[in-house]
C-alpha cells in the first residue's frame, strides 16, 4: 500500500462518484452563468425596471430565430448521441460522425446569428438596448464558438481513436459544455426575443 502510494502520486478522488474534472467544469459553468447573469441583470434593469424599449418601431425577429433555437436544441441531442455511441463500444468513426453533425448544426446556428446581426438594422453603438442585445447574443455566440473549437478538437481525438468507454471524460466535458450553451440560449431566447413589449 505504502509503496504503491509512493510510486503513483496521481490525484485520486476519495469520496465521490462524479469525476473531479466534470465537477470542476460544472462549478466553472456556474460562474459562467453568473457572467451571463451580469448582462441579464443589466437587461432586466433596462426593460423591466426602466421600461426602455427596442429602438423606434423595430421588432425583434423572434420567428426567424425560433428556427435557430430549434437547430441548437437538436444539436444538444446529437452531441449526446456521440457519448451514447461510445458507450455501445462503437468505433471512433461513429463518435466522429455525431460530433461532426453537432459541429455542422452549431456552425449553422452561428452563421444565422451573424446573418441576423447584419440585417437587424441597428448597431451596438446606437442605443443601450442595442448594446445589451449585441452583448448578450455576442457573449453567447462566443461560447458557441468556443464550443465549436472543443467539438473540433474532440473530432481530432476521435479520428486518432483516443475516445473509449474507459477514457471519455473529455468527451463528457465537451457534451456538458455544449448543453450549457444550449440552456443559456433557451433562457436568452425567452427573455430577449419573446419578452412582449409593454
Amino acid at each position: 500500500m505504502a509503496a504503491a502510494d509512493m510510486s503513483t502520486p496521481k490525484i485520486q478522488p476519495y469520496k465521490t462518484n462524479l469525476n473531479v474534472c466534470v465537477m470542476g467544469l460544472i462549478i466553472f459553468l456556474v460562474s459562467e452563468l453568473a457572467l451571463f447573469g451580469a448582462f441579464f441583470m443589466y437587461y432586466a434593469n433596462l426593460r423591466l425596471a426602466r421600461g426602455v424599449e427596442w429602438p423606434g418601431d423595430f421588432h425583434i425577429p423572434a420567428e426567424a430565430t425560433s428556427i435557430n433555437t430549434l437547430i441548437l436544441v437538436v444539436s444538444s441531442f446529437t452531441c449526446e448521441f456521440a457519448l451514447l455511441s461510445l458507450d455501445k463500444k462503437g468505433k471512433g468513426s461513429r463518435v466522429f460522425a455525431w460530433l461532426f453533425v453537432t459541429f455542422i448544426l452549431g456552425s449553422i446556428f452561428l452563421g444565422l446569428q451573424v446573418y441576423e446581426y447584419m440585417t437587424i438594422g441597428f448597431t451596438p453603438q446606437d442605443t443601450s438596448v442595442g448594446a445589451i442585445f449585441f452583448s448578450l447574443t455576442g457573449l453567447h455566440g462566443l461560447h458557441v464558438f468556443v464550443g465549436l473549437l472543443l467539438l473540433g478538437l474532440g473530432m481530432i481525438r476521435a479520428v486518432r481513436g483516443r475516445w473509449s468507454p474507459d477514457n471519455h471524460v473529455g468527451l463528457l466535458g465537451i457534451s456538458v459544455y455544449w448543453h450549457f450553451v444550449d440552456i443559456v440560449w433557451v433562457i436568452l431566447f425567452a427573455v430577449v426575443y419573446c419578452l412582449p413589449s409593454s
Binding site: M1, A2, M6, I11, S31, A38
Partner: protein
C-alpha cells in the same frame, strides 16, 4: 537557446508580443475591411494588444502545453512530474504544479504588491500631513488613491488568502495536491500579469476614479482606465479558477474519515469563500466588460445619451464587490479559528455554529450590495430591506467573535506572535464591525456618506481585520513552510508597533468623518490639520513596522533555529508531516479518526497513518 522554446519566462518574451501583434494585425484588417474611420485608433489597438498579449503570456509560461497535447490526441507521460516541486530558487519563476510552490509564489508576489500599494498610501499620506497642496497635484493624488485601492484589493487582499489556502488546505485535508494542479499554476500566473497591467497604467495616464471606477467619471479618464478594467478581469479570472479548484479539492480530495464536520475551520471558510467567488466574481467582470465597451467601442451602457444608466454599473459592481469584502475576510476568520484553538490549547467553541456562520455570511452577502448605494439615487424602496439584511449579517459575524473569545476563555493562552495578531484582529475587527452596523442604518449613512468615517470603517475591517489575519497566518505557518522558527522577539515588536500604529492611523478618521471631512479630496479644511498630522506619522510608523516583518521572515528563513514537524503541538494534518512537507505531502494516505481541535484530551488524535496504531474514539466535530 532552448530556453526560448521550453515553457519559461524567456519564452514569454516572444509569445507575448507575437500574440499581441497577431491580434493587432487582425484588428487592423477588420477595421480596414469594414471601413471604420479612423482605421488607426491607438486605444483600440492597445486594448486588443493587452488582452491577447496576456493570452500569449500564459501560453509562453507553459499554461497550455499539457492541455494542447491532450486535446489534440498527442502522447502524454502521466508519470512526468518534472514540473512538480522546487529544487532551486529558479523553479519559483517557472510554471510549477506543486501546490506548496504555488502557495509560496502567491504569498511572495501578493506581499510585494502589498508593499507597492502601501508605498502609494505613504506618498499621499505625506501630502495629507498638512493642509494645502505641497508635493503632488490633485490629479496625482487621485491616481495614487485609485492605485492604492485597486492594487491592495485585487492583487493583495483577495489572492493572498488563495496563497495561504493553496499551501495549507491540501495538507489539512490529507491530499497530495490540489484537484487541478495545472489550473492552479495558470491561476497563479494570471496574477503577476494583472499586477503588471494595473501598474503599467501609469505609462498612459493612470486611472483616477478610485477602485470602484464609477461611470460616467471613468469615461473621461485616460487610457489607464481601460488597463484597470483588463487588469481586474484578469485578476478575477485568476480568483475564479482558484475557487473552482478549492471547491473541488475540498469536496472530493479529503482523506478517508475526513467528514465535513471533521474538517478544520479554515477549510469551511475557504469552501464558503470559493462559493462566493464562483457566484459573484463574474459580475465584476461583466461590469468591467460593459464599461470597457463604453470606453473603447462607443456603446451606451452607462451613458444617458443612448438610454443607458450609470446606476446600473453600481448595481452590478456592488453585486460582486460586497460579497468581495467577505471574500477578503472569511478565509481570515478561518485562520483565526486555527490560530486561537492551537495557541489557547482548547477545542473551538461552537465548531458547527462557526462552520454554518461562514455559510450564512456567504448567503447573506448576496443580499446587501445596495447598502453601498444608499446615497446614489437608487429606488428608495430598496433601502429598508437592504438595511435589515445588512444588520442581520452582524449575527453570523457575532457568532464567530463569540466563538473566538469562548475558545480562549479558560484556555492555556500562549501569547505567541501569531496569537497576538489573532487577538489584535478581534479587537480591531469589533471596532470595524461596530462602525459597520452604524453605517448600515440608512439615516446615519446618508449623513456620513463619502466622509472619512467610511475610510475608517473599511480600513478597520480590511487592515485591522484581513491584514492582521494574514500576518497571524504567516507567523503560524512560517515554521511549516520554511522548517525554521521566526524570531519571536521581533515578531512581537512587529505586532505591537503595527497594532498601535494601526489605531493611530485609522481611529482619528472616525472623528474626521463625523466632523465632515470628505474622502478622495487632496486638500482639507485647516481644522483637520493636527489630526491629519497624527494619522500621517502613524501611517509612516505602520509602514516601517512592515520592514521588521520582512527582515524577520527573510533572516529567519535562512538562519532561524530548526522548527521540527510540529512546534505548536497542533493536531491538524499539516503538522503531522515534516517541515517543509515532502514533495507529495503524504507518503501514505492518512486516516482521519476524530475532530481537528481536540486539545486537552489525553492521547487523542485527529488522524493516523496506516502503519500507526489507530485510535478509534468517536466524537465528531469537537
Amino acid at each position: 537557446m532552448t530556453a526560448v522554446l521550453r515553457p519559461t519566462l524567456a519564452r514569454c518574451l516572444w509569445t507575448t508580443p507575437l500574440f499581441a501583434a497577431i491580434a493587432v494585425m487582425v484588428t487592423f484588417a477588420a477595421r480596414s475591411i469594414f471601413g471604420m474611420d479612423p482605421v488607426m485608433q491607438e486605444n483600440t489597438f492597445l486594448t486588443v494588444a493587452y488582452i491577447f498579449g496576456s493570452i500569449g503570456f500564459i501560453v509562453g509560461i507553459g499554461g497550455m502545453d499539457y492541455w494542447w497535447t491532450w486535446i489534440t490526441g498527442g502522447e502524454l507521460d502521466e508519470e512526468d512530474h518534472s514540473q512538480h516541486g522546487a529544487k532551486s530558487w529558479q523553479d519559483y519563476f517557472k510554471f510549477n504544479t506543486d501546490h506548496k510552490v504555488i502557495g509560496i509564489q502567491y504569498i511572495v508576489f501578493t506581499f510585494i504588491m502589498y508593499l507597492v500599494g502601501g508605498l502609494f498610501a505613504e506618498v499621499f499620506r505625506a501630502e495629507l500631513a498638512k493642509p494645502g497642496m505641497q508635493s503632488i497635484t490633485n490629479g496625482q493624488y487621485n491616481e495614487l488613491i485609485s492605485s492604492h485601492g485597486t492594487i491592495m484589493i485585487f492583487t493583495f487582499m483577495v489572492p493572498v488568502f488563495a496563497g495561504i489556502g493553496n499551501y495549507v488546505i491540501p495538507l489539512m485535508i490529507g491530499a497530495k495536491d490540489m484537484a487541478f494542479p495545472r489550473l492552479n499554476a495558470v491561476s497563479f500566473w494570471l496574477l503577476p500579469l494583472a499586477g503588471i497591467i494595473l501598474l503599467s497604467a501609469w505609462m498612459y495616464g493612470s486611472y483616477d476614479t478610485g477602485w470602484t471606477a464609477y461611470p460616467t467619471l471613468q469615461d473621461q479618464s485616460p487610457f489607464g482606465q481601460t488597463l484597470f478594467q483588463i487588469g481586474v478581469i484578469i485578476a478575477g479570472s485568476s480568483s475564479i479558477a482558484t475557487a473552482v479548484n478549492f471547491l473541488v479539492t475540498i469536496v472530493a480530495m479529503r482523506a478517508p474519515g475526513m467528514t465535513l464536520f471533521r474538517m478544520p475551520l479554515l477549510c469551511w471558510a475557504n469552501l464558503a469563500t470559493s462559493a462566493l467567488v464562483v457566484a459573484a466574481t463574474p459580475f465584476v467582470a461583466g461590469a468591467m466588460f460593459m464599461a470597457m465597451f463604453d470606453r473603447e467601442m462607443g456603446t451606451h451602457f452607462f451613458t444617458t445619451e443612448g438610454g443607458g444608466t450609470a446606476l446600473a454599473y453600481q448595481h452590478i459592481f456592488w453585486f460582486y464587490s460586497h460579497p468581495a469584502v467577505y471574500i477578503m475576510v472569511l478565509p481570515g476568520f478561518g485562520i483565526i479559528s486555527e490560530v486561537i484553538a492551537t495557541h489557547a490549547r482548547k477545542p473551538v467553541f461552537g465548531y458547527r455554529a462557526v462552520a454554518f456562520s461562514s455559510a450564512g455570511i456567504a448567503v447573506l452577502g448576496f443580499s446587501v450590495w445596495a447598502h453601498h448605494m444608499f446615497a446614489s439615487g437608487m429606488q428608495s424602496w430598496l433601502r429598508v430591506p437592504i438595511m435589515f439584511a445588512t444588520l442581520l449579517i452582524a449575527v453570523p459575524t457575532g457568532i464567530k467573535i463569540f466563538s473566538w473569545v469562548g475558545t480562549m476563555w479558560g484556555g492555556v493562552v500562549r501569547l505567541t506572535t501569531a496569537n497576538l495578531f489573532a487577538i489584535g484582529f478581534i479587537v480591531a475587527f469589533v471596532i470595524g464591525g461596530l462602525s459597520g452596523v452604524m453605517l448600515a442604518s440608512v439615516p446615519f449613512d446618508l449623513s456620513i456618506t463619502n466622509s472619512y468615517f467610511i475610510v475608517a470603517h473599511f480600513h478597520y475591517v480590511l487592515f485591522g481585520g484581513s491584514v492582521l489575519t494574514v500576518f497571524a497566518g504567516f507567523y503560524h505557518w512560517f515554521p511549516k513552510v520554511t522548517g525554521r522558527m521566526y524570531d519571536e522577539k521581533l515578531g512581537k515588536l512587529h505586532f505591537w508597533i503595527t497594532f498601535i500604529a494601526l489605531n493611530g492611523t485609522f481611529f482619528p478618521m472616525h472623528y474626521q468623518g463625523l466632523e465632515g471631512m470628505p474622502r478622495r479630496v487632496a486638500d482639507y479644511a485647516p481644522q483637520f490639520g493636527w489630526s491629519n498630522t497624527v494619522i500621517t506619522i502613524s501611517a509612516f510608523i505602520l509602514g516601517a513596522s512592515t520592514l521588521i516583518f520582512v527582515y524577520n521572515m527573510i533572516h529567519s528563513a535562512r538562519h532561524g533555529k530548526p522548527a521540527g514537524a510540529n512546534p505548536w503541538g497542533s493536531l491538524t494534518l499539516e503538522w503531522m508531516v515534516s517541515s517543509p512537507p515532502p514533495t507529495f505531502n503524504f507518503d501514505t494516505t492518512p486516516r482521519v479518526v476524530g475532530g481537528p481541535y481536540r486539545y486537552g484530551e489525553e492521547g487523542v488524535k485527529h488522524a493516523v497513518f496506516p502503519d500507526e496504531q489507530p485510535v478509534e474514539t468517536e466524537r465528531v466535530g469537537a
